[in-house]
Amino acid sequence: MTERPNSPTGALRTRRRVSWLDLALGAAGLGSLLLLWWAGSRTTTFVPQISEVVAGLPEFLTDEETWPDVLATVRRVFGALAIAMVAGFLAAYVMHRGGLWGRVMERYVSIMLGIPSTIAALLALFIFKRSEIGVYFVVSIITFPFVALTLLQGLRAADKRLDEMGEAYRLPTSAHARHIAAPHLIPYTFAALRNEYAHAWKVVVLAELFAVNTGMGARFARAFDRFLLVDAMHWLIVFMVILLGTEFLLLLPTERRVLRWRGSGKEAAT
């Protein structure tokens, strides 16, 4: 009988199996990376030993000079990404509307897609000299076109049938935006946010390397200049922990929570 809802048990069991598999694969990936590191430290002079890096980590993490730079980079990533998301949405909306401005915006976005991060960083150095604004400029300009294209895809995939339903039931514009348009765009917004969040971290390090004396990128450069390879590895570890930590502990759970309506199983919306 088709009247019965899907049984939740099968779906949950499958999900638990997948979860264990994920853990096993993750552990295998991390293990192979450590193995490579170990092999690199044995065969080269420029890769420090794992034990040496781990031993110096507590001192590095408790050093009062470490965290202001970490926070400066975090602030730049979040700020620039917020600018890119807003600008990306506006650009996507203009492109979706079409017409002359839509076509103009399409060209801008296409050109920006092709700008390498290094060129953008050098350009920012010329325009803004060595200033904070330059970092925001570089990260925003590099991530914005990807955001715009992902959100444009979302706007183009809008479900006309739901629009029609809203019209038939006389939903006012505010209710349409809140209950139809915005929820439809949320999966696309999360896709853009998650992709460009990782992208922004990579770009910010490069921008800090060129444009400012603070932040993790500048500290990376300083460590390499002085051939402090253990320090460089410490910065790399902090970088990866923050990037992956926020991805798996903040973005992914939030996305799952917000998009729980499309998952499998019989979760009630409580």
């Binding site: 009988m1 088709t2 009247e3 019965r4 809802p5 899907n6 049938r161 739901l162 029609e164 339903m165 019209e167 038939a168 039931y169 006389r170 939903l171 006012p172 209710a175 209950h179 139809i180 929820p183 949320i186 729980r260 309506w261 499309r262 199983g265 019989k266 979760e267 009630a268 919306a269 409580t270």
Partner: protein, 268 residues
């Protein structure tokens, strides 16, 4: 027993009045032409026509979602002119597909349309509970539509339309995507609900038997561009049974009548 033809409408004072309706998607090729129709308050009317004849288009125009090229539609004395403004009469619409918002729970889907219609907060809760119970889906009120079966989703869609307590409920082949047993259960339930609620329903279908089972009167349309070919009274007492031999007999009569008009004459 035979179906009873009634006089062509146009001069009466029906609750829903459709006059000289002409609709075209491209402005050139008509989807509906010179269509007249009248529905009395509390009446269950079926609109019967072959696939693609313009039945759904008729409901679109009646709901105010689409503007006609010519003609006039009135519901309860108020013109439906396609602008679908806030003061337009409330209309419940059950689509062929459920069209529930997948990111809102069943109860939220109902509450959203009630709120838009200006129903007070405490009344929203009361009506939601009542109609979910009437449609036997109160156990699923806090579930996402994607978790429900096709029949349950369509029940939720009907609950949404009825809870609005609208001037008229438009139904566009709502059971055509369901399996036969579920569809029969739903038809039975809809007939009972209609008798209890006394709401005016315009039900579009291409199934002659479904129209005969549900409706007081049937408007039979021609092939597209649709116009009214015939209007038939259904002389069967309620409650009706889907397997009733009288339905089979009437079905045969209507099939004979529409054979040529629907373009089946040469095929048999």
């Amino acid at each position: 027993m035979s179906t009873e033809r009634v006089s062509a409408p146009g001069g009466g004072h029906g609750y829903i009045r459709v006059e000289n309706l002409r609709v075209s998607y491209d402005g050139v090729t008509p989807a509906l032409t010179d269509l007249h129709m009248e529905v009395e308050k509390g009446e269950f009317v079926a609109v019967l026509g072959p696939s693609g004849c313009g039945k759904s288009t008729l409901l679109h125009v009646m709901s105010g979602v689409m503007r006609p090229q010519a003609g006039r539609i009135e519901i309860g004395g108020r013109a439906i002119d396609g602008s679908a403004g806030a003061d337009a009469p409330p209309i419940g619409y059950v689509f062929q597909d459920h069209r529930l918002l997948p990111w809102r729970t069943v109860a939220q889907n109902i509450a959203i349309v009630l709120r838009a219609a200006g129903v007070p907060k405490e009344e929203i809760r009361r009506r939601t509970d009542r109609y979910l119970e009437m449609l036997h889906i109160d156990a699923f009120r806090d579930m996402w539509p994607m978790r429900l079966s096709g029949g349950q989703r369509q029940r939720a869609s009907i609950a949404r339309a009825l809870a609005l307590q609208p001037a008229v409920v438009l139904m566009d082949e709502p059971f055509s995507t369901l399996d036969e047993v579920t569809a029969r259960l739903m038809r039975q339930q809809l007939a009972e609900l209609w008798q209890a609620s006394e709401q005016t329903i315009v039900f579009v279908t291409h199934s002659i038997r479904e129209a005969l089972f549900l409706a007081d009167r049937i408007y039979i349309l021609t092939k597209g561009p649709a116009r009214v070919f015939d209007v038939v009274d259904v002389p069967i007492d309620r409650p009706r049974r889907y397997e009733d031999p009288k339905l089979t007999e009437l079905e045969g009569e209507i099939v004979d009548r529409v054979m040529d008009v629907w373009g089946l004459g040469g095929a048999v």
